[in-house]
């Protein structure tokens, strides 16, 4: 595929807001998973999470608007502002009908929704805020970003569970190639640390129950893994075609050069254990990039932390990469700040472009006991110095969704 440049990024995460703080915590492998204290989670089987702090310190959103939007929209607005500033784009000079917004989200604005549902049952219909109409749904942040900047171009919100934002980025890159937009704000946001959302995530069976050790609970590829730690946050990128990058002399973090997606068609929660369709998505992305497996220097893995998730991801990589599967370096840095569900893909992209910039592979933390079913060359617990020319990012979602993006250092 034609190269599409990543020229700006904004990150809101439990490991910090803004790229400098975020990267220093990722590089250090400093866990940001903590006990949930903002509500009583004591009866939940999983009661730890990566939680965003100090959002207000970075926010220019008015208190009037804050009453009308959910936390996931608030985080998306702040991430967009950081991103546009980082990309040095002056929107006043742009044709806003040719600017797009592509966001990914899995569950919507549940803090707002569940609070209003409670009010409906306690106070009746009139107890429900009219702002509910525009606050809860997955495309609400896209709408708020467009209103905030007057952006009127071709835009979409993708809902594909944990693959949502990686899919949004892949689709955005395709949209630029088709000539529908001059540039696109692409990314995702998720705010699942709320009583009802956490309950639903718990019943899905995908969360770790190692509550006594929050910092070491999320351990992708370790034999004693028991699920992921949930997290909240948002990430936004500016994607631009090469012609525009050259014309405005923009800094390029990395280029998107390949994208592939497939579905398992097997189970509504678990991925297929034969990993055939994930392997096919990897091959499609490699073909799209015009690369062979040996060209890949680093794989930023999905790392769901479930028995079947990590074993089948390992299997897919081995099936496609052959002998080289034991050499290519693999890690799941989301083990540091938690799994941001629909926003996890954009966080993986941000982590990978920062890794390229610093010539350093970020680690999977909490890996202690090897699993014979997960026997790849993992970057464990400490970062590893390495020049990364080409990197692959894998995201998967419930419903058998497989999504793969390939980045190249400029």
């Amino acid at each position: 595929m034609e190269k599409i440049a990543i020229t700006g990024l904004g990150v809101i995460s439990p490991s910090g807001i803004d790229k400098r703080v975020f990267w220093s915590n990722i590089k250090a492998g400093r866990s940001a998973i903590e006990k949930i204290e903002r509500f009583d989670a004591s009866l939940y089987s999983s009661r730890i999470a990566g939680q965003v702090k100090e959002l207000e310190g970075y926010s220019n959103v008015s208190s009037r608007l804050l009453k009308k939007i959910d936390l996931f929209s608030h985080m998306a607005l702040v991430a967009s502002e950081l991103c546009i500033e980082d990309a040095k784009i002056n929107l006043a000079e742009e044709n806003l009908k040719r600017v797009g917004i592509f966001m990914g989200n899995a569950i919507g604005g549940w803090l707002y929704a569940e609070t209003e549902l409670r009010d409906m049952y306690l106070e009746g219909r009139e107890g429900v805020s009219p702002f509910m109409a525009s606050a809860w749904f997955p495309a609400a942040p896209q709408g708020q970003i467009s209103i905030n900047y007057g952006i009127k171009g071709f835009s979409k919100t993708i809902v594909a569970d944990r693959a949502s934002s990686l899919m949004a980025i892949g689709y955005a890159a395709r949209t630029i190639i088709r000539g529908k937009c001059d540039f696109i704000l692409a990314g995702g946001m998720e705010a699942p640390v709320t009583p009802y959302a956490l309950l639903c995530c718990n019943t899905s069976g995908m969360l770790t129950e190692n509550n006594d050790q929050p910092h070491t609970a999320y351990r992708p590829f370790d034999k004693n893994r028991d699920g992921l730690a949930i997290a909240e946050g948002a990430g936004v990128l500016t994607l631009e075609p090469q012609s525009r990058v050259t014309a405005r002399g923009a800094h390029v973090y990395a280029n998107i050069i390949g994208y592939g997606t497939t579905t398992d068609a097997v189970n509504r929660i678990e991925p297929s254990d034969d990993a055939v369709q994930l392997g096919r998505a990897i091959k499609i992305a490699l073909d799209d990039a015009g690369l062979s497996p040996k060209d890949i220097d680093y794989i930023c893995a999905d790392g769901a932390g479930s028995k079947i998730g990590d074993a089948s991801e390992t299997k897919a990589i081995k099936n496609v990469f052959g002998d080289y599967a034991k050499k290519v370096i693999v890690s799941a840095p989301k083990s540091i700040y938690g799994n941001m569900l629909g926003a996890s893909g954009v966080l993986d992209v941000i982590t990978t472009v920062l890794a390229m910039e610093h010539n350093m592979i970020p680690p999977t933390i909490n890996y202690e006991t090897p699993d014979p079913e997960c026997d790849l060359n993992y970057c464990i617990n400490k970062p590893q110095e390495k020049v990364i020319k080409n990197a692959m990012i894998i995201n998967r979602g419930r419903g058998g969704i497989n999504c793969v993006l390939i980045l190249q250092k400029p």
Partner: protein
């Protein structure tokens, strides 16, 4: 019966509460959309709070006809 001043003062406090704006922005002739930037959901929220504070229900079709702060004062005065 409330006086015009009482109604204005109470309605100002409703606007302040719902819109999170300064009292000085709410002048009698203030246009609901152009001056105060009120959208349709905020208008519904204002109606809900008016019902709680004044005990007066303003119907949808009445609400749609209002253009300024004074229009709402007029409706409340007539009820």
């Amino acid at each position: 019966m409330n006086t015009q001043t009482d109604i204005e003062s109470k309605l100002k406090s409703v606007f302040k509460k719902v819109l999170d704006i300064k009292e000085s922005e709410i002048v009698p002739g203030a246009k609901l959309d152009e001056s105060l930037g009120i959208d349709s959901t905020e208008m519904v929220e204002i109606a809900v709070v008016i019902k709680k504070e004044f005990g007066v229900a303003i119907k949808d079709n009445e609400l749609k006809k209002t253009h300024s702060f004074n229009d709402i004062v007029g409706i409340l005065k007539a009820k």
